[in-house]
């Protein structure tokens, strides 16, 4: 039987760009180039490796976002995913984590799945809560923050390196997993992969396809409200010295002056 894998990915503003907020205090997506969240590349990579080990598997990449978010899907398709689903609706603007998890859960159910793979967090919001929310909404086990993952005989197994211990985890499918940046370098799309991606199907769904009311998502339906955003003042230039044999001692004097020694 075919293993149906859904990878949730996010299109995010490039972290090396000058990110800021729009007037409505949502993330300004117009002024900064977007790209597939780097941490989601690890999720795509692990899905590809799991699919390689399976007799028969199909990988669907799923994203919620504006028109440009298709770029993130294209990247995942060119890495080797089979098909893509893009949920786009102008009423989605300003949707927060809880709303996004609702949209993704409905889309995953509509797609059909045995395994959902997520990155550990997005590189913009960095909340790291989506996999847990999806597992809760889908009513399936979560096997999260894995540095190693494998699927065999309908069971997913993984290693989680926590603060105080390393754990080996196990759950029956269907399940939601999330993987860390320690799970293994993501592959670069090959030229062949990039060409093949252009022919792969990308389905476009809106809120009505998922039976979601507009008031449950978007800025109006958000469960949280941003009241203000201020740019952090740039740090004032400090003292910089060139080491001419006494650099360590000079630094010690500075630390002593600040009462750290």
């Amino acid at each position: 039987m075919s293993l149906r894998i859904v990878v949730c990915v996010k299109y995010v503003p490039d972290a090396t760009g000058d990110r800021h907020f729009a007037e409505d205090l949502t993330v300004d997506r117009d002024d900064v180039d977007g790209l597939l969240s780097e941490l989601d590349e690890y999720a795509v990579e692990q899905a590809l490796q799991i699919a390689d080990e399976a007799d028969d598997a199909e990988i669907t990449v799923l994203t919620v976002g504006p028109e440009d978010a298709k770029d993130a899907l294209r990247k995942a398709l060119s890495m080797g995913a089979d098909k893509a689903v893009h949920v786009e609706d102008e009423d989605l603007h300003g949707t927060d984590a809880l709303g996004t998890s609702l949209v993704l859960a409905r889309a995953i159910e509509k797609t059909g799945y045995d395994l959902v793979v997520c990155g550990m967090a997005s590189t913009d919001g960095t909340m790291g809560v989506l996999a847990a929310m999806l597992a809760e909404r889908l009513g399936v086990p979560q096997v999260s923050l894995l540095s190693e993952v494998s699927v065999e005989d309908g069971t997913v197994t993984g290693r989680r390196d926590g603060d105080t211990a390393t754990e080996q985890l196990q759950a029956r499918l269907p399940a939601v997993v999330s993987v860390t940046d320690q799970s293994g370098e993501a592959r670069y799309p090959s030229f062949k992969g990039i060409m093949a991606a252009k022919k792969k199907p990308v389905a476009s769904w809106d809120l009505s396809d998922l039976d979601i009311e507009a008031e449950d998502v978007g800025l109006e339906g958000a469960w949280t409200a941003v009241e203000g955003a201020t740019e952090r003042p740039a740090r004032t230039a400090g003292t910089i010295v060139k080491d001419e044999g006494e650099g360590g001692k000079q630094l010690a004097a500075f630390l002593a002056e600040r009462k750290f020694i």
Binding site: E167, W223, D243, A252, I261
Partner: protein
Amino acid sequence: MAEVLVFVDHVDGAVRKPTLELLTLARRIGEPVAVSLGSGAENTAPALAEHGAVRVLTAEAPEFADYLVVPKVDAVQAAFEAVSPSAVLFPSSAEGKEIAARLAVRIGSGIITDAVDLEAGEEGPVATQSVFAAAFTTRSRVSRGTPVITVKPNSAAVEAAPAAGAVEALEVSFSEKATGTKVVARTPRESTGRPDLTEAAIVVSGGRGVGGAENFPVVEALADSLGAAVGASRAAVDAGWYPHTNQVGQTGKTVSPQLYIAAGISGAIQHRAGMQTSKTIVAVNKDAEAPIFDLVDYGVVGDLFEVVPQLTEEVKTRKG
């Protein structure tokens, strides 16, 4: 006064510092009621009472250790229903965030993660967050449901405020899904004897400039002379020179110590996101053009293998 539920992070009954910070913040918005789960839960009560917990709800069951996250979500939900709090606070650990996320879905409430400050507002608690690699500070609140908020370590100075801390057993009936993810094995991390990275007042980190795992003792020696935690940049971790659990940065840990010393770290955006809110920043780097120097209070352009050992010796001498 409204009660605020506070999730307790402890190891066999020893309460970790971020929970005490959480109690300090919780007192600004209500009366803290602590929820302490798992082995040694009751032993947390004295420390929690000392820091303002009016009540301590405890539950011990093997499920908390044997299965991932869901048993604790069931217990926190039981506490939520018993207390009807005005807010629920968690430490921003991986576990804390996941329990908070699932609870938020269950009770239909908004969630704010990684708050760095918390205060009472007219429409409920207002959380301060540091976003976009600490380039912006936002103030947010939960607008639907009971606020569920996770708070980063080092967000408040711990203040003692003795309270009753009456221990009460929490009745928990586990959901069908509680045993979905089995913890097959658990290997405790070996203690280095150094302070925990996210809690430490001083952090000394090494990066690409350290050049290899065999050179990290240079960084460790400085850390030990200052009683500091050791961190590493992503480049050093990816090269296999230092464990991932010590990684400072966007995909590792965010630290906000009183003093951050970066040795051989250029200061890529990834790293800056993890340390930019440190109070005092110091860097040693050969490259005068390294972006880290834009952030520092004091920088030394020089070979870290000359500068750092000299600094370590000087610290030892001054400390006598």
